[in-house]
Point group: C3
Chain length 193, copies 3
């Protein structure tokens, strides 16, 4: 038996059985709770954010550029930083060491969007230009940052990551006062070209 014929037979049998099961209530919108297959690429990185606080200009990789009326742009606002817009250009590393050789830059913004708990909305890119990766991955989504892990969307990519899509799981790996934090990003891509 040729492989293709076997495949076709199995599929035919599958659909035949499926049709025979004839559930009385039609289910036009099948929605599995878990993704139907494994990621086509799976990457893990860390990135490091040092917020400008009026004294650390040289080391800062991020700055507050928007703030609510009751606050300024040098100190993160009270009320869970609600209304602070932060721009960043953070080094990406393969391990959790800030001083490891960066493999790219995480560039974009986050904006604290809730008065009562810490949560943010993110729009940013991972920009790679190394021997290993060339191109960018674009992300967007809500980051309820008090949760141990939270998922955001991979909305596109360029270069090595042409047109990719998927989900990235964020985890706060370290947090030092209101100046430094480090995120672990677990990227699972389900559309690879």
């Amino acid at each position: 038996m040729e492989p293709n014929k076997g495949l076709v037979s199995a599929l035919f049998l599958f659909f035949l059985l499926h049709a025979t099961m004839a559930s009385p209530t039609p289910k036009p919108h099948i929605k599995p709770r878990s993704p139907p297959h494994h990621p086509c690429r799976h990457l893990t990185f860390y990135f490091h954010d040092i917020i400008f606080n009026g004294k650390n200009f040289k080391n800062a990789t991020a700055a507050i550029v928007g703030s609510p009326p009751w606050s300024n742009r040098t100190i993160l606002a009270g009320q869970s930083h609600f209304g602070n817009l932060v721009v960043f250009d953070d080094p990406i590393t393969l391990d959790n060491n800030l001083h490891s050789a960066p493999v790219g830059r995480a560039q974009g913004f986050y904006i604290y969007d809730r008065k009562d708990i810490f949560t943010a909305w993110l729009g940013f890119s991972f920009v790679f230009n190394s021997t290993q990766h060339r191109g960018s991955i674009n992300f967007a989504g809500a980051d309820p940052l008090m949760n141990k892990t939270r998922d955001i969307s991979v909305i596109g990519g360029t270069g090595d990551f042409f047109m990719t899509r998927g989900v990235a799981t964020l985890e706060t790996d370290a947090f030092e006062g209101e100046v430094y934090f480090r995120l672990r990003v677990d990227i699972k891509l389900y559309e690879c070209w």
Copy 2:
């Protein structure tokens, strides 16, 4: 003659004639004007935005955090609010009642981007954590808010809305001065996993 054969013959004749007409500019890219199939999921929600105006801190769900040089962050700017960046964390309800039990939060930002008419650019998420929905839907797009309805893109999702895509139709359902508005969001998802 069977219908299918007729159809095939007609199509063949059509392409033959088409080929004979030999248009000098080839048209390799067929682009249907309407979506080819029904949504795999169709959801409707309302969300409610109460903008901080200097006096309503407790009830406010949104705040102006960026403004043009000719304005401040307590009052929406003249010139169609051009340049006002607003952050929000708005309750999502199933009906148009602000006091209904919220089923999630709409979190993100809008930014008024035109001097002569009211129009905005939106980046936000619907974040669900109820028995009915768990996960998030991410949106982006232009909102020419003087139009009765306007479409933005569903650019991704997580959890129950893993990797989803589609279009959301916004409609301003209520508008009270410059403090409160309510949007009806009709979400049509065409990629469900």
Copy 3:
């Protein structure tokens, strides 16, 4: 035979046959370096950005609405404009002439995100409402604007560009001081509905 058992049997047969085909080197993650096919649509436009500088309100199509603590919103900040958030509503033209009849508006924001070189993060839409195009194309991504060309993602669309995806190549076509620039945008869409 119970339905589930039939399903399981069919699936088992399917996987068995699949396993029998047994390619010697497993290739779970096929990742071609170049896109596998031609764009289904290819469009080229120009858009023109005139930044408000305190004196050109009438002509300005863009304004600084966020800035770092060390700067204001009338003049682009030093340090590669790091932290400046700019909102825009720019005319789109078919050629490189600012005074050509616009075919749409480019609306959204860019945010300078790096201290040492000029680079920005973009979120915006092309909004068309002409006889030729109706609908919108949504973009997001990093713009290392000192590079001759750079790619960002097309993350969605509406109307004629329903659910589209692809890549847009940006090229700075003209740059006059810190007030005017013109971008050439080469849009390659790989998902057309």
